[in-house]
Symmetry: C2
Subunit: 435 residues, 2 copies
């Protein structure tokens, strides 16, 4: 059992030992646990400052309901294994705290829990909503006379956080999409003479086309190389131009590989996926954009098609994670702890690109106010003039992010992902809080 080894001589007089609270937020990624690993391993190196890292069970909800996990109960080996384990090891939550005016009680509850458990550090691992929350907690904790050091840790497959050059989580989904597109394209090319001529891969990214763009890495960008068409949410879908291109590809190259973002939409803003399809009972049918595009191809051109919907597979595919992404995910977790210990608050570690080739990057910091509630769209200059592919500039940006492989260990043919004991921290408050 790990107890604090408190050596007063080693701790600067004015600095006390506190606990830290870490939570995962929103959609998980193949590498969010690598950030958790960075936080916990770094905190463990500073036992004189951070006694224990409590993790929120199901994210911030775990703080509100006082359901926290004692990470000191996990061995060093288990924590190290988080680096290669996808999903959110402590549970995540889609739960956005409201504005302070609307629901002051939630923020006060957070501070009450933090105070009861002697928590002086709040590490929030998420997207731009989470950065907004972290910033508000920083402010309100001060105003309540219990100042908490609040750090954001970037995470999103959507790559849409501002300031940071890229977001941990994106590089691995980008690699998955690029590799899968390349592989499926070889398959379709083999089959095209007598069978499937059009293949459609649906990828995530409801608002920004970063993930769809990554599909463009599957080929060199030379004419005829797959993917032949990318449908970005940033480019209004024009049916005639799209069908014309599909027909040309099949004529010129024998096949056509399409990567479509789930957010692809018409000029009027309507998603392609909202095609008004109904099931046998007339219920509006939920479904992806891929079948809509596939049926459009069939009805207008008659080509045989196949489609795949990558969905969660793309963001949980730790088996094909980008080594660059894993390193960066760990680095932002590590940096957040170091920044906190250096007295920083209301900031988030960001990735600064130093050079494209060779790819060099470093960690810098940005105030949460510059991150919160802002979205970074795929720049138009990364998309070709015709709107169907990526440019050389886009390729230069994307390529380093998928570089390197970081394979998990395997047992019996399967990745040996870790499961934590997740021992709860004993509750101290008498009050219950219902979220």
């Amino acid at each position: 059992m790990l107890r604090i080894e408190f050596n007063p001589e080693k701790v600067p007089r004015q600095m006390s030992t506190k606990n830290a609270f870490y939570a995962q937020s929103g959609g998980v990624t193949a590498v969010i646990n690598a950030s958790a690993c960075g936080v916990i391993e770094t905190a463990r190196k500073h036992k004189n400052r951070i006694r224990n890292v409590y993790a929120g069970q199901n994210g911030i909800i775990g703080a509100l309901t006082e359901n926290m996990i004692d990470t000191n109960k996990e061995s060093a080996r288990t924590i190290a294994a988080l680096r290669h384990t996808p999903g959110g090891a402590f549970g995540s939550a889609r739960y956005k705290l409201k504005g302070i005016e609307e629901n002051r009680a939630e923020y006060e509850r957070l501070i009450e829990v933090f105070r009861a458990h002697d928590i002086g550090y709040f590490f929030y691992n998420g997207g731009n909503d989470s950065m907004d929350t972290a910033q508000k907690v920083s402010q309100i904790s001060k105003s309540m006379g219990y100042p908490v050091t609040c750090l954001g840790i970037p995470k999103t497959v959507d790559n849409d956080l501002p300031v940071t050059d890229n977001c941990p989580g994106f590089g691995s989904v980008a690699k998955y999409v690029a590799v899968s597109t390349k592989e499926a394209a070889l398959d379709v090319l083999s089959m095209a003479e007598t069978s499937t001529k059009v293949f459609i891969l649906e990828v995530m990214g409801r608002h920004a086309g970063w993930i769809a763009a990554a599909g463009g890495l599957a080929g060199s960008g030379a004419a005829g190389e797959p993917p032949h068409i990318i449908l970005f949410p940033e480019i209004p879908f024009r049916k005639a131009a799209f069908l014309k291109r599909v027909r040309e590809c099949v004529k010129d190259y024998g096949y056509c590989v399409i990567v479509v973002s789930e957010g692809a939409s018409y000029a009027n803003g309507k998603f392609l996926a909202e095609a008004g399809t109904t099931d046998a009972f007339g219920h509006a049918q939920l479904g992806g954009v891929a079948p809509v595009v596939a049926n459009m191809v069939r009805d207008n051109l008659g080509f045989k098609f196949h489609y795949a919907v990558a969905d969660y597979l793309q963001r949980s595919a730790r088996h094909i994670a980008s080594a660059t992404d894993v390193k960066q995910a760990y680095a932002v977790g590590e940096a957040a702890v170091k920044m906190a210990l250096a007295g920083e608050t209301a900031v988030m570690p960001v990735i600064k690109r130093v050079s494209d080739s060779p790819y060099r990057w470093k960690i810098a910091k940005a105030p949460l106010s510059r991150i919160a509630n802002k979205e970074k769209m795929l720049p138009r200059r990364y998309i070709s003039k015709d709107g169907f592919s990526i440019t050389a500039a886009g390729r230069r940006y994307l390529e380093p992010l998928i570089a390197g492989e970081d394979y998990p260990p395997y047992i019996k043919g399967l990745p040996n992902y870790v499961t934590l004991k997740n021992v709860p921290v004993r509750k101290k408050l008498k009050t219950k809080f219902v979220v």
Copy 2:
């Protein structure tokens, strides 16, 4: 381990040198090129017997139209790289030769082309249709006074060939499905508290549930471990029992992971995928079974869901191929050449399992007549009594087939798959043949 049950020493000393013809047939796999590699590398070791391996451009169609590829024009390094390259390097074809009575002209044309190019060996890499063709070619070539040595080489992700313990191609798709199910399950478990509670993965296997069964390897089989439900084509779908189980899983474990075979169907034989969905224009909508199951869950239980359709990704995912599968795919290609040189004809190398654990196998041979046009279904004893999971016996059979990783080399974050020059063999015949 590869032990071949025949003795090449028995081969008569003085034999003539002939060319070989190799063709890929039907849906391609992550490892069909490893079989091609086994054929070509082994043939190259016997230049005194096999002068050149001509490959059919787009399978058997390449023989009929005299469009063949000169594999001697490819370097040893390129041929070696086929071992780690998915898809069909020479193109495949969904093209079944008709019965001899119906279309004798096709068979005669084949023999005409073989004779013109001094082809004495026919290696046909495919499923049970292809074994039927190879057998017929063997018969008709004899009756036409130009006997060709005809060897089948097993290939199918569906694992439905008889006699052989398993089929090259299956192990890799099984590994992909098991790994993906395991990864997506970790994702869903993280999200289930506030978001997605049900995840559905659609996999291939229209007639046999081998691939769906492989999803069962994602967990240990202990209660609560994903996948919680497998829908096999062998088990008639009962909606009430299915929905009851989904509800129980969400109640007991917080989430429910479902692997569904594209061939899942009702007791009356109707596929679930034929749910009678129509698009906005009232056209019958093609689509997978996953959205049908997803909508059923939503309409009846109201749970938030996600679904993925693996489609071609599962059978082209060379990046996560099973090392066992790669070895066996190579071995059947190698063995086919050795058997041919040993004077065997109208046979196919099969995989014989010697033991489950440790897994040991050897190559044996089976007459094509025992393979052609037969399907091996998933045995009922591999499916649990309730029809929703695999049994210990099923697990014992499946586990060794996904064992081991065989990573392709990478450049710039992407697998370095080979592209052949595919230099055509000069045509010798004046006549054209239209398929």
